[in-house]
């Protein structure tokens, strides 16, 4: 990583700390900011957060690795989370997953080659009355069909 990039990340973390505070209870909001911007939290970013909050880097890693929405490895620019829990499952989740996989030539659990999408299954999204459902970044889509799901993704830049 270039020194300039490193400095930029440090500055971002400092901005986050100004917003959320520099105590331990600000850790998750700070990590969420980094995740949102960079689609993952790199080793360097974890070390910088640890240094600025004055905790051990392993503490930061232990938190990042615990939560499903925080990642240590780079993801695609858009994260697709298709609900896999029972009601959505019964309403045809599998067919939707297959249609998306065919269209993007990418399996669930992986990222497309152009880094545009990461496909993930998620547990209950709380949309059981309108399933099958998925969340793309921070937007929720319900009553999906294979065709509709693919259409939604093709409209995303």
């Amino acid at each position: 990583m270039l020194v300039l990039e490193k400095n930029a990340i440090t500055e971002e973390i400092e901005e986050s700390i100004k917003l959320h505070g520099n105590n331990r209870s600000a850790l998750i909001p700070i990590l969420q900011d980094i995740q949102r911007k960079h689609s993952h939290i790199s080793d360097f970013a974890q070390q910088e957060v640890a240094r600025l909050l004055d905790i051990h880097p392993v503490e930061v890693y232990s938190v990042v690795s615990f939560y499903a929405f925080l990642n240590t490895k780079p993801k695609g620019r858009n994260i697709v989370r298709l609900c896999q829990t029972i009601t959505c499952d019964l309403q045809g989740k599998a067919a939707i997953a297959k249609a998306i996989e065919r269209e993007l030539n990418c399996k669930f659990g992986e990222t497309t080659q152009d880094k545009k999408f990461s496909l993930e299954f998620a547990n209950c999204l709380g949309m059981c009355d309108q399933g099958p459902a998925m969340i793309v970044n921070d937007k929720v889509y319900s009553h999906l069909t294979p065709e509709k799901a693919v259409q939604i993704l093709s409209n995303i830049k």
Partner: protein
Amino acid sequence: MTTNKQKREGAVIFSEYERGSAIKKALSMGRDDILFELRESKLKGRGGAGFPTSTKWMLVAAAKAEEKYLICNADEGEPGTFKDRVLLLEYPELVFDAMVVGGYTLGAKHGVVYLRGEYEYMKKSLEDYLEAMRKDNLLGNNILGKEGFNFDISIFLGSGAYVCGEETALIESMEGQRGEARNKPPYPVNTGFMGMPTAVNNVETLAAVSHIVVKSGAWFKQHGTDKSTGSKLLSISGDCKKPGVYELPWGTKISELLELVGAENTKAVQVGGASGICLSRSEFDRTLAYEDAATGGSIMIFNENRDMLKVLKNFMEFFVEESCGQCTPCRIGNVKLLEGIEMIERGEYTFSYIKKLKDLGNTMKVASKCGLGQSSPNSFISILDNFSDEIFNNVNGGSHA
């Protein structure tokens, strides 16, 4: 997309309510009077555990501490539950007004809404709502002119962990830790967020508080049964014509509910989400109540065409993924139960081993540290017991014998 704009009907939660009225009324009452009304109402926690809300609030109100906190648990992760989504999107006044009432009653200055990461799309509208409350002096300093009463609410966003719905795991998460449940006691009411007395209440519990403050505890307990007062918001999904959120009085029969939502040829009803129990047709005359079939609101309906072993497998995969891993019964136990289901699928099981797995499930209920592992064997045991004909005896087209 996420809200059905129809006017919702209900006797308690969805009854008429004017924004801010609970706060106005509360500020004209003494703290003890508010606690008295809550005790009179016999309101119990709506998240599923059913702890009396008045007791929780009395303990925090009585505690002497520099700071106290009121946390609204909006980490609605139980499969099949979406009532909090509806409350927060369509009835935020009920939830936030009750938090201000709580701040006043408990002597807390800070309220926090722990919003699950999956609901990030609501955050902006909730923040706008809070900002409007600040403008109208329903939040902030000297609320509605009450000298010295300062209270504000912030939103803490979760990051995708089911176990954080457990109140001590939720507090750990807010403190910047892994969402692992704490040993209890001490309970959050005396050692909660940052070691301070903390009340953690479900979204729906708070919504009920707003109505109780305005309309009295006696009014509230006219609804429901003697032991389960008031009403319950039920999140109904699965095989029925009209899924959605319904408000029904406690004591409603499963069969009445099925009729109401247009469910036909129903084979099974999962009450209380993946961690709840699965009822078969012979039990459809049971009632929804803390003293009978208890639920945090999740009702999932399965018709005759569904393979119950597949349903169970989906639940157990969920628990294996969501177990936080800190205690052995839950971390290993759920994996063993899932493996057992896969053995049944392949036809490579013995009845004696299945019996052992049920015993293991009962051990997990006692030995697990938090509600996750204590309740995850419920569906395993109830589905294998109630649908054994289908799963093991090749009755009704079952295919695993």
